[in-house]
């Protein structure tokens, strides 16, 4: 139960919105639920639905709509490379191809050790610092800008140590 596990965080989230806007707490609560496992399971959705007096279907509808929520366990870390137009004009597609080659996986796949899922995403508001990606993990989201494949692979090695 989210409210038992993170009582302080849940209370703080609920305090941000007026009583008539209680449902606004849904998105922050989903991020909280995703914190440890990297995805939101059915039990958590049920829990949040009860907390906010809405149906599980409504919760699942929100989870499915937004790209930063995940419903399945994948890599412990997600490397999300922007391959949108401005980044692609500065070499993002080649960066992505090279990264795939080095990791030995295709876009959308997870490394066999379960450490890294590699994804292509749309604009991250860092167009002047391409190639770039964000790293989504249990500690939130972090930007890595002006990247090279070498620097990325060094980072991957670090992350693998955390996973082992």
């Amino acid at each position: 139960m989210l409210s038992k596990k993170y009582p302080k965080e849940v209370k703080h989230i609920l305090s941000k919105y007026p009583p008539e806007g209680k449902r606004s707490a849904l998105m922050p609560l989903l991020f909280l639920a995703q914190r440890e496992e990297g995805y939101i399971n059915k039990a958590a959705m049920q829990d949040i639905a009860e907390m906010l007096d809405i149906t599980e279907t409504e919760v699942a509808g929100v989870v499915g709509f937004y790209t930063l929520y995940h419903e399945e366990k994948e890599g412990k870390y997600r490397i999300q490379v922007c391959t949108d137009l401005p980044c692609a004009l500065r070499g993002a597609d080649k960066f992505m191809d090279d990264l795939c080659g080095n990791l030995g996986i295709k876009v959308g796949e997870t490394t066999p050790d379960g450490a890294i899922t590699l994804e292509a995403v749309t604009c991250l508001a860092a167009c002047d610092k391409a190639p770039m990606f964000q790293l989504q993990g249990s500690q939130g989201i972090k930007y890595h800008e002006n990247m090279t494949v070498e620097k990325t692979m060094e980072l991957v090695e670090e992350l693998r140590k955390n996973t082992a």
Binding site: P28, L68, L85, P86, D128
Partner: protein, 417 residues
């Protein structure tokens, strides 16, 4: 030139509260709350000619004056969902000069009588939201936020709220839906948010850069602000320059600066000394400007002048495309973006972007025939004017202008029959 918005370029520690205050910060907010009526604040902003920086360019003071005073409480929302491909200015403001943005939001809240304001940040700005939470806590401790400010009856609290990855949430009514804990799908307008907004209450929504202008306008006056820029668009704008230039980045310049100055004087020119082939002045949502004549680069950038080139200035996210780029590749990129980001609520956009992406994929992959190119144009034109919000319309801009100006790029990659 000294910066007005990107002041951290001259004062690196301005993101620290004592430094911001020493640089004159928060005096405008205190002055407004203790010495001015809310309508007087709105009048100064109205007289300054400030236009919304999120893309539409709607006059800010006029928007504030639309707030429905018969229905309470009021809310203010800062749109920090910055997601247009090519736009990265709000992020720099919030990282470098956060208090100026927050002060603008606070002044705007006072002007429309809101006691609570939300900052809706795209979910990817996770670290930025945490940093802003700290700044907000500092302002509370220092007596600039909270109950009965400076001994008056006015109370104000600010809250951050993270989205979770959806371009559509930059559309203001989709943003409100998302802030209410729902799928980010646009509402039918009217009613507009100043009448029916967050929790069905009157709400003012402005872009981060818009708010960042406000403290400087209040401190220096409307006439000072109008002395910069053009009659159509007074003041300064942050141009996010990206694509094939040597020095991409944010450049704060007066409206009316030419494309040439932006690209060559500030951006260091085109990579590998190639030629500018096309410009997308409003990110992926732009009609492509064909640079067939070098003189075109001398066009001053404001809303009116860019419209004369059959494009839009939007949020001034200027993407430079050089002569190594083939437009079938470019359209495939932009259409794919909109197809991915279409919220699915209205049929023309959901189906239109889907079919356009199939066509651009096939054309770019060399699998198409000439009829496919014609069909692409037909689908785009059928979508125009029929979508619920601007996203659907935007998705057709590069397609229609790209096919009009660069048809040979497409004919080159289709099969003979």
């Amino acid at each position: 030139m000294t910066h007005i918005l990107l002041r951290h370029r001259e004062i690196p520690d301005i993101n620290q509260l004592p430094v911001y205050k020493k640089s004159g910060g928060l005096a405008a907010f205190k002055n407004a709350v203790t010495k001015m009526k809310p309508t007087e604040v709105t009048d100064v902003v109205k007289n300054s000619g400030l236009r919304g920086r999120g893309g539409a360019g709607f006059p800010t003071g006029m928007k504030w004056s639309f707030i429905d005073n018969k229905n309470w409480p009021h809310y203010v929302v800062a749109n920090a969902d910055e997601s247009e491909p090519g736009t990265f200015k709000d992020r720099e403001i919030m990282e470098g000069n956060p208090f100026q943005f927050l002060e603008g939001l606070m002044i705007g809240s006072y002007a429309v009588g809101a006691n609570a304001a939300y900052i809706y940040l795209r979910g990817e700005f996770w670290e930025l939201a945490a940093a802003l939470d700290e700044k907000i806590a500092e302002l509370e401790e220092d007596g600039y936020l909270g109950d009965k400010l400076f001994g008056t009856d006015y109370s104000l609290r600010l809250y951050t709220h993270l989205g979770a990855g959806a371009y559509i949430c930059g559309e203001e009514t989709a943003l409100l839906e998302s802030l209410e804990g729902k799928r980010g799908q646009p509402r039918v307008r009217p009613p507009f948010p100043p009448s029916v907004g967050l929790y069905n209450k009157p709400t003012i929504i402005n872009n981060v850069e818009t708010f960042a202008n406000v403290p400087m306008i209040m401190a220096n006056g409307a006439d000072w602000y109008k002395s910069m820029g053009t009659a159509d668009a007074p003041g300064v704008k942050i141009f996010s320059l990206s694509g094939r230039v040597r020095k991409p980045g944010n450049y704060e310049l007066p409206f009316g600066t030419t494309f040439r100055d932006l690209i060559y004087k500030h951006g260091g020119g085109v990579q590998d000394s190639r030629k500018v082939r096309a410009i997308m002045p409003a990110g992926a949502s732009s009609s492509l400007i064909l640079v067939h004549d070098d003189n075109l680069l001398d066009t001053p950038m404001d809303y009116l002048e860019v419209r004369k080139l059959k494009s839009e200035l939007g949020s001034a996210s200027v993407i430079i495309v050089d002569d190594t780029v083939s437009m079938d590749w470019l359209l495939n990129k932009t259409v794919h973006f909109f197809q991915h980001e279409s919220c699915g609520k209205c049929t023309p956009c959901r189906e239109g972007t889907y079919w356009m992406s199939h066509l651009t994929e096939r054309i770019h992959g060399g699998q198409a025939v000439k009829a496919d190119v014609d069909l692409l144009l037909k689908v785009a034109k059928q979508m125009q004017g029929k979508c619920l919000c601007a996203l659907g319309e935007f998705s057709t801009m590069a397609v229609v202008s790209g096919l009009e100006h660069f048809r040979e790029d497409f004919d080159n990659v289709v099969k003979a029959s």
